[in-house]
Amino acid sequence: MTIWWSSWADFWAMGGHAFFVWMSYGALLVAVVVEVVLLQARRKRALAAIEEERELEAEN
């Protein structure tokens, strides 16, 4: 499994197509990060709602 690129600089340059390649891979990375963050936020909101419900219940 030899590495195709001779240097890291070549790798980042992507033979002149750097913009298109990294805009694509970057988009996937952003999408995954955003989704994971949203998932955590949704979980927190759900747990908070339960907590609220429990306090409401505890009062009356």
Binding site: G15, G16, H17, S24, R42, A49, I50, E53, R54
Partner: protein, 241 residues
């Protein structure tokens, strides 16, 4: 094994909690290997240049977008036939991840197209069908959240997904038919010769995407369960955990 043991939301909640991290770890490992193959090892294509490496995420996300819609439709079928609550929640949990993969497939298709054919949006048959699939996902998500009673949203969106999954091949065929008529020879993405590392790279990335999708779905379904069962006693106890 009692097949229906895990079909009750409370037991599935804990099971999903235990499994989800493993799927994410597996997804990360597969992705690392896939990217290593796709970005570092695979040779640059002679005609298209290095931009073809976008294939390692474009094709897996496109496959996954269709596969997840099909899986979602299966859960919707279960919801309508057996009126089970958990299958409806699973379908709801899959849709956003499916829509995300569809969007990424379109985005990467556009950025691959720009240097190759000179325009960001080329009315290629697959890209156009992918766009219609994005509308189908959006329709499912919009309809499932359009009702006060979430159970009503489940069943209405479930039937829509079934109608959608029956129409999906027809849409793909009609767009393919339309494309060959207007475009002459289809501008296909398969121009590159399939070097062995390329194929393996794509398959590994697809597996990574699949594991990720399962992980994300399991995490999201736990939130859906918490939202839907918040009055249930077991949720109160689990809430603290």
């Amino acid at each position: 094994m009692n097949w229906f043991y895990f079909s009750s939301p409370s037991t599935f909640y804990t099971l999903a909690g235990r499994l989800a991290p493993w799927f994410f770890i597996l997804a990360a490992a597969l992705a690392a290997w896939g990217l290593y193959l796709g970005l570092l090892v695979a040779p640059t294509d002679a005609q298209q240049g290095a931009v073809y490496r976008v294939i390692f995420i474009h094709v897996p996300t496109a496959w996954m977008s269709m596969f997840l819609y099909f899986v979602m439709a299966c859960y919707c079928g279960l919801t309508l036939v057996f009126n089970t609550r958990l299958s409806a929640m699973m379908a709801r949990a899959i849709a956003p991840t499916g829509a995300m993969f569809t969007f990424i497939a379109l985005w990467t298709g556009a950025f691959w197209g720009r240097p190759t054919w000179g325009t960001y949006w080329v009315w290629d048959a697959r890209l156009t069908s992918e766009l219609v699939l994005l509308f189908l996902y959006s329709g499912y998500i919009a309809l499932s959240n359009a009702f006060e009673d979430p159970r009503r949203g489940d069943r209405a969106a479930a039937l829509l997904a079934l109608i959608g999954v029956v129409n999906l091949p027809i849409i793909y065929f009609s767009v393919q038919w339309w494309n060959t008529l207007h475009q002459g020879s289809s501008v296909s993405f398969k121009g590159t010769s399939m070097h062995v590392t390329m194929l393996t790279g794509m398959l590994v990335m697809s597996a990574a995407a699949w594991m990720y999708a399962i992980g994300a779905t399991l995490v999201r379904v736990r939130s859906v369960i918490l939202e839907r069962e918040r009055r249930a006693q077991w949720v109160r106890d689990a809430g603290a955990a």
